[in-house]
């Protein structure tokens, strides 16, 4: 017998159906057992006569029964499928849950409880509002991929095991690689630039990045998914920002079309498509604004997380916009491969994108001229030997290029107003957490 999904039941009143899912709220009233069956599409009440009394909460069950219209006065309009119920004829316990360590629909009230719920993440994820986060992520990623593939980008999967520490060398994980040491990629930066040297012109990558950062904040994680894009034959970082606006508007529009209503109903969040162009402000201007707001920071030329937040509030108030590009970062807070302004060599042609007060992207036009790149690397005190493999990409013809790296977990976190990045990730990793 074909399986019927719960959200198909209202069309099948009077018919015999087979449904499968998790048992919620098992309760007995005399000879009658009530169980709410939850599948990926919703919940429905099932009524068994002298049946189902061995079903425990969160067990997985299969039910064959008749779809019944509930009596008018019993209809619960607040509940999905509140107008129907299943009169159980046969049932099967497919997997019995015993000694549930957490209740699915409970909430953590302190950090210790948060930790326990992370330990039993798969039970926590049974909440429909958690499932929705990953449905949204799936559509978001599909839409990004649609944008890239329909705009001539080629996908790369660059290696995560490197022969030398990439970029700064700090915050990199070491791997025992046969008789030597390998390093986990902190970003696909060098390799998407290699793709430019290969003439791929426009590339994207969706992949794991690793950061051995010893921080335990709501924004940090030692491993996350990165979206990366790189484009040849551009001459300004403004072209990259324009491209990012296009991909974000495209992807957010797709998410809104598919899940806008559900997001509003389940999470209470109104999803707005941002107006283009996004507000842009140089770092110098941003610091002025923050100074006037009385925000002090010890971050020097960079923005502290408090500054990011306050700048986000300011932009929301002044421009009614959730996004803001901060441009032209000073060289001391940017890596050696960012191109510098000809008329002000202390500033890079770079940007960060803030979304609701949180940095979600770093981008720049890159320095593609070998001699200048080497000079900048030396100035930054880089170990040239470690990065010679990268510098070599620039010696045999390298198109001018630039690109960006984005953190989709941060994007999803802010999009759905989640409290922590932990909630935007299937499984979260930080220095203290490697399980499950």
């Amino acid at each position: 017998m074909e399986r019927t999904y719960v959200n198909q039941l209202t069309d099948r009143v009077g018919e015999l159906v087979r449904i499968v899912g998790f048992a919620e709220n098992q309760r007995e009233m005399g000879k009658i057992t009530f169980v709410d069956l939850r599948d990926i599409t919703g919940k429905v009440q099932c009524v068994g006569y002298q049946l189902m009394n061995d079903v425990t909460m969160e067990s997985v069950i299969e039910i064959i029964g008749e779809v019944k219209q509930r009596p008018e006065k019993m209809i619960n309009a607040q509940v999905q499928n509140g107008s129907i119920e299943i009169e159980v004829q046969e049932y099967k316990l497919l997997s019995k849950a015993e000694g549930l360590p957490i209740m699915v629909n409970a909430k953590a009230s302190n950090e210790a409880e948060v930790d326990v719920r992370l330990d039993y993440r798969w039970i926590e994820l049974r909440k429909p509002e958690k499932l929705l986060i990953f449905k949204v992520w799936t559509e978001l990623e599909r839409a990004f991929m649609e944008y890239w593939t329909s705009n001539g980008y080629i996908e790369i999967h660059s290696p995560k095991l490197l022969g030398a520490p990439s970029e700064s060398g700090a915050e990199v994980f070491e791997v025992n690689y046969f008789d030597r040491t390998a390093y986990l990629a902190q970003s696909p930066q060098f390799y998407k630039q290699m793709a430019m040297a290969a003439g791929f012109e426009k590339v994207f990558e969706i992949g794991s990045v690793f950061r051995a950062e010893n921080s335990n904040t709501i924004r940090h994680t030692t491993e996350f998914t990165g979206y990366d894009a790189e484009i040849s034959y551009i001459d300004s970082h403004y072209q990259i920002m324009e491209e990012e606006e296009k991909m974000l508007v495209f992807a957010l529009t797709k998410v809104q079309e598919k899940y806008g209503e559900e997001i509003k109903r389940v999470l209470g969040v109104e999803l707005n498509i941002p107006a283009v162009p996004f507000p842009k402000i140089t770092m110098a201007q941003a610091k002025e604004v923050l100074d006037k707001l009385g925000i002090k920071s010890e971050k020097g030329g960079d923005l502290s997380s408090e500054e990011e937040r306050e700048l986000g509030n300011y932009v929301k108030k002044e421009f009614n916009h959730d996004f803001v590009f901060v441009t032209d970062y000073p060289i001391d807070v940017r890596p050696f491969y960012h191109m510098r302004h000809e008329d002000n060599p202390n500033l890079t042609k770079s940007f960060d994108l803030m979304y609701k007060g949180l940095e979600i992207t770093t981008g720049a036009i890159r320095e593609h001229r070998y001699d200048i790149l080497v000079k900048q690397a030396k100035e930054k005190g880089m170990n040239l030997e470690n990065i010679q493999f990268y510098l070599d990409f620039f010696r045999y013809g390298m198109p001018p290029h630039g690109g960006l790296g984005m953190g989709p977990s941060r994007l999803v976190m802010k999009l759905l107003n989640l409290e922590s990045i932990r909630e935007a990730m299937f499984l979260f990793r930080n220095p203290r957490r490697l399980n499950p």
Copy 2:
């Protein structure tokens, strides 16, 4: 001035255009310099009078010039854009190539040369036939994602840093993780099963997998991209095979539509869409066939690579099919979590998919009953403490489920008849190679 792509030039005869790309075949005849400019869409000959003599091979240049029809007798029908050329008015050297270590269009004639070309992989990748491999991969992956997302699958990104070695514990890379050891995921197996316990019902993942296998063959690599899918509420491994047939036919059809002609023209490969259902043969039957063919193996219940190849030849000859599912592997060559046949507990409900004589997929219906799973793990001598986090997924309600893991680099290798998996990967990693 807007950039024009090379493949748009034939429509613009008589116009002034701006083109960018790599310089090929620079040659001088008196005061005239000829350069073939190659961009991502093709090549065109550019003619400069007392110009471009400082352009070296593989330099990156920008040209502004007029699109000219070539005299009838000069038209080279063998060459793309052979009927036009660019009369250069201005040009700019964007990046000068000096001392090219390998010629783009040369071929390696021995292993040492292969190695050098891998060292300079980005120059090797400038060959149009190499670019095509990654255009095909991009479309293939896009199509898989389209199949999954339009069939209700949810995407997960599972962690690659684990607290305990997954699966067997052999061939796993160790990572220095702050004050302890982490392990790199050998597959997302345990975590896609966790998604089943979370009620996600159908999931897919595209991500990095790591294997500390000390082999240096044309089929092995220490790091590769995996496609993984897992489905709840099934009761036979035949349902997974049927699903794999659907996704493969869908994806290969999309590739054929977009690149079929180009694949034929550039690589000389005819892309056929496989008929469904694919041939299926049990391992016992396969061994009988191989026995009759006189193929001996010391692999016991598994297939050696020679056996895979010979079986592929046999299936091609007998059924005119490139694919064959080998089913019902003996338990001693399968992991503890594969479900076993009730009527023959020495056989698993599992399969491998061979494509042109190479294994590209392993799949199975999983054992979802906690007690039996623990028993099977013990029998296999697993360290139960290491996998307790995984076993816990089965204690609080677990839908019956199964799934598969596929290697897209092997799929692309066989699809395009490439000689080695190295050619199907952007950058290849084996025990000896961590660079570039």
